[in-house]
Symmetry: D3
């Protein structure tokens, strides 16, 4: 089995859910050290990006601790995106992040950009079910459905402690005065 | 009755209409001095943001003069937005604006951001009817309906003097060559 | 017949197609020298803007060479857009481009901004058919239809050499993990 | 004597001092209405730009009130600068500001840019003495000399109320750990 | 003795040297968890900022591992600076970083901005000697003096592995053709 | 002798002088096609960067025509710089420019960045004399010395036609009111 020294896993984690956790656990069987690239780091307080980078770092650390993943096996690196200038995004990631040997991603644009830059890009095999999506988690939060079952318990509890659902709901109210 | 020294009223004013004027008059019963924060100051010449900050300052001054509101009771402060980086927007407003004690707004994101920053945020009680919206004013301009009745006479006359309706209509034409 | 020394033709050219080529040929009957302003130069790798500025420069040069238009009759100038700050866009074009006497465009916002800045703006008379649009070329690329007939042969061949259709298709795949 | 409807007076006002006040009084003999363009609006908390735009607006209003200049004779417009992209700066000022007929400035770059844009640019005749400069005011603040005599009393008192000298001094301390 | 849950330590770490390490060790006696804010994250390849954020993260992790500081006692957060817009910098740090209770810094601007924002800001008591500065480390690198004694062995060895001294020296050569 | 298909020559050309022309002629003996990357494209109207990108494009075209270099042997590509974010600059150049096989430059930062990105970077052998520098040309313009002898006649004549020396001199006047 191929084993790399360092792999990068790239996502927005709005919020970090059970699917993300399974990906992390899977990639850690393939690499010695995992770099979690937290993309769109500058955005928060919108329906698609409710949480700040700092809040997302907190979530990931809590979830990985709960899953007994040691701190020395992963590095979290927040990276602001390039406002749609995709041709500069790989260079930005490479500048913010320690070096890595392989990229894990199912996201088409990420895959395309790293492939064109000559990187080894691996698919993550199977956790991509409809229900395990951050979009679905946010929808359930807004619609008062059971979102907690989709995220690690430590993340659910953290989101409650910062009144994250209240924030998300408050952003859905329309006002056009 | 509570009375504050200074209140901030935040909007885009694309264009300034009768609902905005009523809000200003209401807030002026609550505060000594009103700071009108003119948001998204950098945008113009689009369907949602047709007028420049300079044109909107002009409109507001004309409307408030017509309504006999003395110049020394308000300050207009144009503030460029932060391109979706909402977590920095309150800091930007505080940097561009003289200090204020209370924020008046019905807009959910504005309310949320100032509440999280620890501000006293007040609702504006009643003028938020469907018909009194900038969206409706712009729709009527495009559809050749009576938009003038929705804005103060001085604003209608100013918009005509700068051929504002012509500008807005010209932006609705599609071309995809 | 009016004849100007220099005219500017403004577009995004995503990609450069037969309609664009006809426009170039038409304008060259009206001006001694043509400046081709390649707008939104910073964008690439998205469904609406798949190609980099460099790739678009390459396409235009190849197409114009194939059409026997001499290199000394045109200048290609890539210009990054102003992220929606339309009021600064004319100033940006004027700064990046050699001087010109007339603007050729059917695009409403371009026309409006140059007209307000006092420029002579001319329509391009007739090539604006539904089928000759960059949107249609990109749609056919994605749907495996005949897109090659809509672009000059040299452009079709160049796009194939850089695997442009593969890039565009890869960006249509959805992933929301 | 020439009299214009509206003139623009452009400066950074770090801080607003007696020389600025004399300029304002001079220009008001030449125009009906004065637009005070407060440049480099985004900068503060540095040795050259210690005060925020909001603080500078406050200073100017206090100084002009003290000098019995009515509020309806002037408009203060903060404008962020263009990070060294000088070719776009006039367009930005024109977008943020209500229209004006003439520009008053002794600053070479400002004069050059507005002259090249076709504006009527007037010198301000005589108040430009070494001692009446914002640089000198800031130097005296740092060196514990009499800076108060260089600014209107209302400005001195405002700067004290916000502990402006303490802020400026704190920024002069070097630390290179 | 006061003990806080989380403290932030803010620096550029160009490169991370023995003085930084002593600061980290000192602060860890005062807090349960340390957040290392890596400022000016976007800059590299200049005389004052030779190393990328990714390289600086690598250095800090190697040095702290060598010093037997457990991974779960610190979090490294790279934060891009605000291009001189100091009034927005605290908001940016708060957005990128998990929450903290106290800031440790001897840098005047950092101290000033966090104090004005209402934070508890602590001095770091004694390691601020001339010789232990990143400026001195870079000077010695350029002048072929003993820079290695100023940094932790793991950092020296990492910098050599990426040919950091060669990079720095190459940037000192002048060319003005 | 090695001969490449396409080489990039990178400079600011403030203004284009005889040394630049010799470089172009030299590189054209080594490559079939030359891409002239006009860096810092967004800057103008300062002492170090007096001319706009458009004006610099004009100079280069006039000089190369005068030197009988055919239009089909070179491509001029203006590229805005990345505001000091050097790690993204190579990606930006690659995005704006058609592809090239080799970079010609004596400028240390340019060389370093392209070398780290894996490019073939060649020195330009001999034209780098003190007198043939853009800095010297600008100094002579300001000091009323013979700058014309340092630039191609067509460039001298163009700079006079746009009153370039007058612009540069006007920017040297100090005003600190």
């Amino acid at each position: 089995m191929t084993k790399w020294r360092r792999g990068a896993y790239i996502g927005k984690f709005q919020p970090f859910h059970n699917g993300h956790l399974k990906c992390v656990e899977y990639i850690l069987t393939k690499v010695d050290e995992l770099i979690i690239i937290l993309g769109s780091a500058q955005y928060s307080h919108s329906l698609n990006n409710p949480f700040t980078a700092g809040e997302r770092i907190e979530m990931i650390r809590l979830a990985l601790k709960e899953a007994n993943i040691p701190h020395d096996r992963y590095i979290i690196v927040p990276v602001p995106d390039t406002n749609g200038v995709h041709s500069e995004w790989v260079a930005r990631v490479l500048s913010y992040s320690p070096k890595f040997d392989v990229v894990f991603s199912n996201e088409p644009l990420t895959r395309r950009l790293f492939i064109e830059a000559g990187f080894n890009v691996q698919n993550i095999p199977f956790f991509n079910r409809t229900i395990l999506s951050a979009t679905e988690v946010r929808r359930r939060m807004i619609d008062d459905e059971n979102w907690e079952e989709l995220v690690p318990p430590a993340v659910a509890s953290y989101i409650k402690s910062i009144k994250g659902v209240e924030r998300l709901k408050s952003l859905t109210i329309k006002d056009k005065l």
